[in-house]
């Protein structure tokens, strides 16, 4: 396993455009840490390409953006990661899936007999965006409120923290934002709290394996990841 991150960046609709745009902040953190990155953007976010780069580069961290369900996560047009097809490629890697519903079935399968870890959601990932800026994520003043806390998961991992620390870090940011919104009685405070609370319920599968396998974990830290 080598130090490095593979990130899928589909942009087939507004949702994937937003989450892929926000992934650029994660990429910057990885660049600052000199972590090699392989991006699968747009049409390159497909299973064939994904399988190829995962096998060839053998990077330790996989960051997947895309629409998901219990059994699969989509790339640009088709499933990128699917149970029973290519989920075994995730063995011994750290996977963060910013997609809906993938944790309990697909995530669980990915960490079976593995020293890796899967962080994902068991509910549909939610966020609001400002309709006046739809399709313009860099100028949208609202969407970042919801998506930025999820960025803290891969960013914390890139900085060499454990999956559990990444979980805590991200959740604390959500809670602080909910708190601030409620204290200031901001417009849409209820909707913000509700959507963020929904995203609060992400799952980490197999974090103890990373701790049990101390040499692997130590190696990742020594490699700055």
């Amino acid at each position: 396993m080598k130090k490095g991150m593979i990130v899928s960046l589909p942009n087939s609709d507004l949702v994937t455009q937003y989450i892929s745009y926000y992934s650029s902040f994660v990429e910057k953190e990885a660049e600052n840490k000199n972590i090699p990155i392989k991006k699968l953007s747009g049409e390159d976010a497909n299973m064939e390409e994904f399988n190829k780069v995962v096998s060839k580069l053998n990077y330790s961290f996989i960051f997947i953006n895309g629409h998901g369900s219990e059994n699969e996560i989509f790339g640009q047009r088709e499933p990128l990661l699917k149970i029973g097809i290519n989920h075994k490629l995730m063995k011994d890697r750290v996977v963060y899936a910013r997609s809906c519903n993938s944790a309990l079935v697909l995530g669980k399968a990915c960490v079976e007999d593995s020293n890796g870890c899967y962080i994902g959601y068991n509910l549909p990932f939610q966020f609001y965006n400002d309709g006046n800026w739809s399709g313009n994520p860099e100028k949208d003043p609202l969407a970042g409120l919801f998506i930025e806390p999820s960025n803290l998961i891969p960013i914390s991992l890139i900085k060499g923290n454990s999956a559990e620390f990444a979980d805590k870090n991200s959740k604390q940011m959500m809670l602080k934002r909910i708190n601030k919104t409620l204290q200031e009685n901001s417009e849409g405070a209820f909707q913000i709290s509700l959507a963020m609370w929904n995203n609060y319920e992400f799952l980490i599968l197999n974090p103890q394996k990373l701790i049990e396998n101390k040499w692997f974990f130590l190696l990742l830290i020594l490699l700055e990841f």
Partner: protein, 79 residues
């Protein structure tokens, strides 16, 4: 019958719709693969009781339960 297939309780539906209507009019909700939904589209899904409508109602229900149980307050007062 799964949670998602259950018909949505009418009182709960009214409550959720009332909450959805209170959102700022320019806000759009992205949930699942449904795209970006306006208030009217959210309400249509809820009234139809389709998968997206059920997901929205379920997330409201989960949030209200967390508020009622004190779980939400405990969490936000911890930071």
């Amino acid at each position: 019958m799964t949670e998602e297939n259950k018909p949505i309780n009418e009182d709960l539906m009214k409550l959720v719709i009332m909450r959805v209507e209170a959102a700022p009019s320019n806000w759009k909700l992205s949930i699942g693969s449904s795209g970006s939904l306006s208030k009217k589209e959210i309400i249509d899904h809820i009234k139809k009781g389709d998968e997206i409508g059920s997901q929205i109602v379920n997330s409201h229900l989960a949030f209200l339960k967390a508020v009622a149980s004190g779980e939400f307050t405990k969490a936000i007062s911890s930071v």
